[in-house]
């Protein structure tokens, strides 16, 4: 089912998740990406969706960054694969964690997420509910630096502030800077700290009993403690290795292959995302949105 042939992203598998519901109108999915600049976020997004979401990208210098506050930038792209349409919105948060004083840097982000909830609440309470557009953030990739020893104070504060509002998936990008041992140590440390601070990250649901063995096994692998957080490498550059052209990064000491499971968790992350898009949306609806809604309605006394 999950072919690794070049160019295949894998979300054509979505129909299987919705248990044969109609998919003619296509899917909408909003993915938020948060992390300090330079952690490989854009490269990873481009690699995951085999696209260039940031063609005219301008990277500001340090002096400019001193003046900047956190921005919210949403880019939408329509991807079609084997007849299945996906309207993907990627929400970037440039400026996050860059300032010398990052005290308020996630206020803007919280506001954005709440605004989408607010809009949905409003639409839901309206008269015409057939064509409600779901712009709520379904998933947030939070990028942890591969250069540290674990979570930074800012990472902890962000996740604590947002785990009740959005599905948080911690990701370690630029994982090619770590040896295997260092990677394991970092993952363990991050998980320990997440648990220590009571942070609730997105949990993969167990496979349903009626799923086939392959899917069940895959879920087991994804849920294994050695997987999360996924340590990934992104690249859309093609390099020739043993006569084949594969996506990777060319170093003087060797080639890092993006889709080689022995090199990094890219395939696992991609699989997790595409096979759980439906679940991510459901949890957003049933848990995060409902929390927001009940808080909101309590406040206005309705």
């Amino acid at each position: 089912q999950f072919s690794d042939s070049a160019g295949y992203v894998g979300f054509a598998n979505l129909p299987n998740q919705v248990h044969r519901k109609s998919v003619k109108k296509g899917f909408e999915f909003t993915l938020m990406v948060v992390g300090e600049s330079g952690l490989g976020k854009s490269t990873l997004i481009n690699s995951l969706f085999l696209t260039d979401l940031y063609p005219e990208r301008y990277i500001p210098g340090a002096a400019e960054k001193i003046e900047r506050t956190v921005q919210i930038e949403a880019s939408t792209v329509e991807i079609e694969e084997r007849g299945v349409k996906l309207r993907l919105t990627v929400v970037d948060t440039p400026g996050y964690g860059d300032a010398i004083n990052s005290q308020d840097c996630f206020k803007t982000i919280i506001q954005y997420i709440d605004n989408q909830f607010e809009r949905y609440l409003h639409d839901e309470s309206g008269l015409n509910r057939r064509h409600i557009i779901d712009n709520r953030v379904h998933c947030c990739f939070y990028f942890i630096s591969p250069f540290g020893h674990g979570l930074k104070p800012l990472d902890v504060e962000f996740m604590k502030a947002l785990h009740g509002k959005v599905n948080i998936v911690p990701v370690i990008a630029k994982a090619d800077t770590l040896t295997l041992k260092e990677r394991e140590r970092l993952k363990r440390r991050v998980l320990d700290e997440i648990s220590e601070h009571g942070i609730r990250i997105y949990q993969l649901p167990d496979a349903d009993s009626d799923e086939d063995e392959e899917f069940k096994e895959q879920t087991r692998v994804l849920k294994a403690s050695a997987s999360i957080p996924f340590a990934v490498i992104g690249s859309n550059q093609l390099i020739e290795v043993k006569g084949k052209k594969i996506r990777g990064r060319l170093y003087p000491w060797g080639v890092v292959e993006v889709e080689n499971p022995e090199h990094n968790d890219f395939l696992k992350l991609r699989t997790m995302l595409v096979t759980h898009m439906q679940d991510l949306q459901e949890v957003t609806q049933d848990l995060h949105y409902e929390n927001f809604r009940s808080e909101r309605l309590k406040r206005t006394g309705k």
């Binding site: 002096a63 001193i66 990052s102 104070p153 800012l154 003087p252 000491w253 890092v256 022995e262």
Partner: protein, 350 residues
């Protein structure tokens, strides 16, 4: 013919005698032709050997500070530089410990010996720098420490009964670790270097450079150099202190092409092509620390230790320290006592 002391940066063993204030470049002796009017060999050139012997006997101090966010490989790099377990990481500090809430200054001294020459090396670590959510003014404790060492030295110097050899705790070199984002410097990097390049020799290095391909490295270095220039940050070797044309040519090349050095550190050895090398082992290859096609560690090492060690000390003494001293004398018309950190923070392996 005018004979003057011949100074050469390449002599690692230079005298610890009180260095003189910076003199105008000495006119080198004109090379004598074969028919020169020399009455005989005097033996002035033996002074080099005398200085060398003296240094071997007394040894010398070198104080190096490392600054950068937690996890950039500072401790590992220093250990690799001196092929010794000299950093905080090796002195029983537990990596699993929490990040300190304020910047701490931790100085650890070691004596290392090579070829009969003893170096008292002090590594000054700055845990907590840049790690908080609010990092405003986090360079202040560092600036304070550096000035305190100048003050200590000044106090000794103005004593009536001075020590023959004033213990030198002044920071000769500050390695500033830049995160290899591939984009640009971070605001904190700019702020730190702006403030501190005026009081200490700063050598910026790009840490964990094994995360960048050759192209990315070249681009990033160019970008960083440009940013430093645009913001008026003079890192070591500073242009204004080039002594002569030879210096300038050599240093220009380093400033405009090599620096900031993109380095990788390691304290583990692996077998590569029959040789044991320091490196990092990954599923896709072994990164050799001392291989110039892999990273610029060897350039940094040669620069700091093999060619510019003495100059780092001289610039510290003749420029930075003198600047501090002049300001102190001007400010107070004398030298009222200034509180100085006690020896509590200084561990030593002596």
């Amino acid at each position: 013919p005018h004979a003057g002391p011949v100074e050469s940066k390449n002599e690692a063993a230079m005298s610890e005698l009180v260095p003189e204030p910076r003199q105008k470049p000495v006119v080198p002796m004109k090379p004598m032709g074969i028919n020169a009017n020399l009455l005989g060999y005097i033996g002035i050139d033996t002074i080099i050997e005398q200085m060398r012997k003296k240094t071997m006997k007394t040894g010398f101090d070198f104080n190096i500070m490392v600054v950068g966010q937690s996890g950039l490989g500072k401790s590992t790099l220093v250990n690799t530089l001196f092929k010794s377990q000299v950093s905080r990481k090796s002195s029983g500090w537990n990596r699993e410990e929490k990040i300190p809430k304020t910047v701490e200054i931790k100085a650890i001294g070691h004596v290392i010996e090579e070829g009969g020459v003893k170096m008292k090396l002090t590594v000054i670590d700055t845990p907590g720098f840049g790690d908080q959510i609010n990092n405003e003014n986090c360079w202040e404790p560092i600036e304070k420490y550096i000035n305190e060492q100048y003050e200590k030295f000044l106090k000794e110097e103005v004593n009536i009964a001075r020590k023959k050899r004033i213990p030198d705790t002044r920071v000769h070199c500050c390695l500033y670790f830049i995160s290899p984002t591939g984009h640009s410097l971070r605001p904190l990097d700019l702020e730190f270097m702006k403030h501190l390049s005026k009081v200490v020799n700063i050598i910026p290095v790009i840490a964990k450079a094994d995360t960048m391909t050759l192209e990315e490295k070249t681009e990033f270095k160019q970008r960083v150099r440009k940013e430093l220039e645009v913001n008026g940050i003079e890192f070591y070797p500073q242009k204004e202190f080039d002594e002569d044309l030879e210096d300038k040519t050599e240093n220009d090349k380093i400033r405009q092409e090599s620096m900031p050095f993109a380095v990788v550190g390691s304290d583990k050895e692996y077998q590569v092509n029959g040789k044991r090398v320091l490196g990092r082992k990954t599923p896709w290859g072994i990164i050799e620390v001392e291989n110039l096609t892999h990273c610029e560690f060897a350039l940094l090492r040669d620069f700091v230790i093999r060619t510019h060690l003495q100059d780092l000390k001289e610039v510290t003494h003749n420029i930075h320290y003198e600047t501090y001293r002049a300001k102190r004398l001007n400010d107070n018309g004398g030298l009222p006592p200034m509180t100085v950190e006690t020896e509590e923070n200084h561990e030593s392996n002596l």
